[in-house]
């Protein structure tokens, strides 16, 4: 299972990187979202996926699954959602204001 998950994380990173390198703004936004998912999957996989009973008080078991990675990605997911939401709004506003979603046209200022 761990191997499958890490391969999946790799695929997500590849796809995300491809999208971030695109010209169109919406692709970049989606690319960052997909990279984010890859990072979260990797974080979850890194702790070891299922190594024992659920980490609950009162269960008599020789080994328990590490709950920390789940706590970590829970926090990271919330942060990801926040930044993604902000980024979407920002790109929408920029599209309205600047009239383009092509990053090539958003290079420098006139007085340079």
């Amino acid at each position: 299972m761990e191997i499958l998950m890490s391969v999946l994380a790799g695929i997500l990173f590849t796809a995300g990187t491809y999208l971030v390198l695109a010209k169109s703004l919406i692709r970049i936004v989606l690319g960052t979202a997909i990279i984010g998912h890859g990072a979260l999957l990797l974080l979850l996989t890194m702790g070891g996926i299922k190594t024992g009973a659920p980490p609950l008080l009162g269960l008599e078991s020789a080994s328990y699954t590490d709950p920390l990675p789940q706590a970590l990605i829970l926090t990271a997911i919330v942060i990801n959602f926040g930044t993604l939401g902000f980024f979407l709004v920002l790109s929408y506003r920029s599209y309205q204001e600047l009239g383009t979603d092509d990053m090539e046209e958003l290079r420098g200022t006139e007085d340079e």
Partner: protein, 492 residues
């Protein structure tokens, strides 16, 4: 256990939330902001006193013992930066009262300044890697908003790039945390340090360390600074000044913390790399600072040069050089804010940021001119001003340890810094006076007071070395001797 440690986080957080309810009452917002920042300074000074008397203060949140729970650690290095942050924010906010404008103030400007401060304070005080990530995000999300607040075309354009770069690097940060957790099974700084010291820093851990360095380097503008000039040029000057003084410093702090406390076993690889990155940063930043005729860009490139210089102290890694870096870091926060604020006054008066279009301002604004002169000299490290001691200690350390190229680059780029700021001074303040008082685009009323506070502090840091040095040496001692930090965290 010391409950005071959480106050630098709690005060700005609660103030920020409180200010949301006073959106329309700008006067209330201003008073509350001033009071909360003064309170923040007072708390930090009390904490600094406690730490200097009793040693490092920690707080285990929720009563969970260190390797398992979340821990806040207030050592001298963090607290000095917290105090500098509070002072700089106070001055920038005072300046902002008169320059930022009602429209932005009504759209939660002070709230987000406070939230950014929460993130910065949290990054300085946190004792584990994942919380560092969380506080980074708090700070970054607020800074995205502060950059784009106002919605001008250039702001939107530059903030897009800033946001993309920071989101991607934050994801790398998560990945690095994942790898480190898989290798060591802990994320607490002190515990990480103990475990890596036990098992030895093998190639895998060094790789993760360099991966982390990459992440922090993007945030600290160490070599990877391509996003910085654009992003620091577009927001209003008071906000730019805060960014220049604070944001990159958080990245620098993280590099110092991780590479003095955790990954200090393979200095031949990691610290050498940091040193050369610093050299490259200084050279490229110096070229940028010399090349432009745009006041704000010159100042933005000066931020980059300072980052490179501070890294030399870490590369040398002796107690003296580290003390020099800490001293220079604090000096840099104060003097960068001062320069940006003064530059903001110059731009405000002339209505342009092109140096070729201004001249002779010293005739009507002598105080402004002299303060800029002072700030320029302090930045370049002319004794007895604040930059000198830090440079002296760092370079002394570098030469003693045989890092001649780094020391030489530091000295040569100091000249580039001096040239670039004197260019601003000579073009802006010397020559024919083109601008009569009636032509000026705004008055300097109330703007010079916050600048004067920072200028006095800058001189004070230089002249009062005797008093400051006690604290700086304490900070350097903890960086140089990780065991002090570990004992304080794990044996409470």
């Amino acid at each position: 256990m010391n409950n005071l440690v959480i106050l630098p986080l709690l005060i700005p957080l609660l103030t920020g939330v409180l200010l949301i309810f006073f959106r329309k009452q700008i006067r209330v917002q201003r008073y509350v902001t001033t009071v909360s920042l003064l309170l923040l300074m007072a708390v930090t000074i009390v904490l600094i006193h406690q730490v200097s008397v009793e040693g490092i203060q920690t707080l285990n949140l929720g009563g969970w013992e260190p390797p398992y729970g979340i821990v806040l650690v207030a050592d001298m290095f963090a607290l000095l930066l917290v105090l500098a942050t509070a002072i700089v924010t106070f001055c920038c906010v005072l300046y902002g009262f008169r320059t930022i404008g009602e429209e932005r103030e009504k759209h939660y400007l002070y709230t987000f300044i406070h939230f950014m401060i929460v993130g910065i304070m949290g990054s300085f005080l946190t004792g584990d890697l994942f919380n560092l990530f969380v506080f980074f995000e708090v700070m970054l999300l607020s800074s995205y908003i502060l950059i784009s607040l106002g919605g001008e075309k250039s702001q939107l354009r530059e903030s897009l790039k800033y946001v993309v770069i920071n989101i991607v690097s934050s994801m790398f940060f998560l990945v690095a945390i994942g790898y480190l957790y898989a290798i060591t099974g802990t994320l607490n700084f002190a515990d990480l340090s103990v475990r890596i010291a036990e098992t030895g820093q093998d190639g895998l851990i060094t790789t993760v360390a360099i991966f982390l360095l990459l992440v922090f380097a993007i945030k600290a503008a160490l070599l990877m600074f391509f996003w910085l000039p654009g992003a620091y040029v577009v927001p209003p000057m008071a906000i730019s000044a805060m960014f220049a003084a604070l944001l990159t410093k958080v990245g620098i702090y993280s590099i110092f913390r991780t590479f003095t406390l955790i990954f200090y076993h393979e200095t031949a690889i990691t610290h050498e790399l940091i040193g050369w990155l610093g050299v490259a940063t200084m050279v490229l930043g110096g070229i940028g600072a010399v090349a432009y005729w745009d006041l704000r860009r010159i100042l933005a490139y000066n931020v980059i040069i300072a980052v490179g210089f501070i890294m030399i102290g870490l590369a040398v890694f002796t107690e003296g050089a580290l003390a020099g870096s800490i001293y220079y870091l604090i000096h840099d926060m104060i003097v960068k804010a001062l320069l940006f604020l003064l530059g903001g006054v110059m731009i405000g008066l002339t209505g342009t940021n092109q140096l070729r279009e201004m001249s002779g301002m010293i005739r009507n604004h002598a105080l402004l001119g002299w303060m800029f002169f002072l700030a320029a000299f302090a930045l370049a490290g002319v004794p007895p001003l604040s930059g000198f001691i830090g440079k002296l200690l760092t370079l002394q350390g570098a030469i003693d340890e045989g890092f001649y190229v780094m020391a030489a680059t530091g000295l040569i780029t100091s000249l580039m810094v001096l040239y670039s700021v004197m260019k601003i001074f000579m073009n802006g303040f010397w020559g024919e006076n083109q601008l009569s008082v009636e032509d000026e685009k705004m008055s300097t009323k109330g703007l010079l007071f916050p600048c004067a506070i920072l200028a006095i502090l800058s001189v004070g840091l230089g002249v009062g070395v005797e008093w400051v040095n006690v604290y700086v040496l304490q900070a350097a001692e903890v960086l140089n001797n990780p065991q002090v930090y570990i004992d304080a965290v794990l044996q409470n």
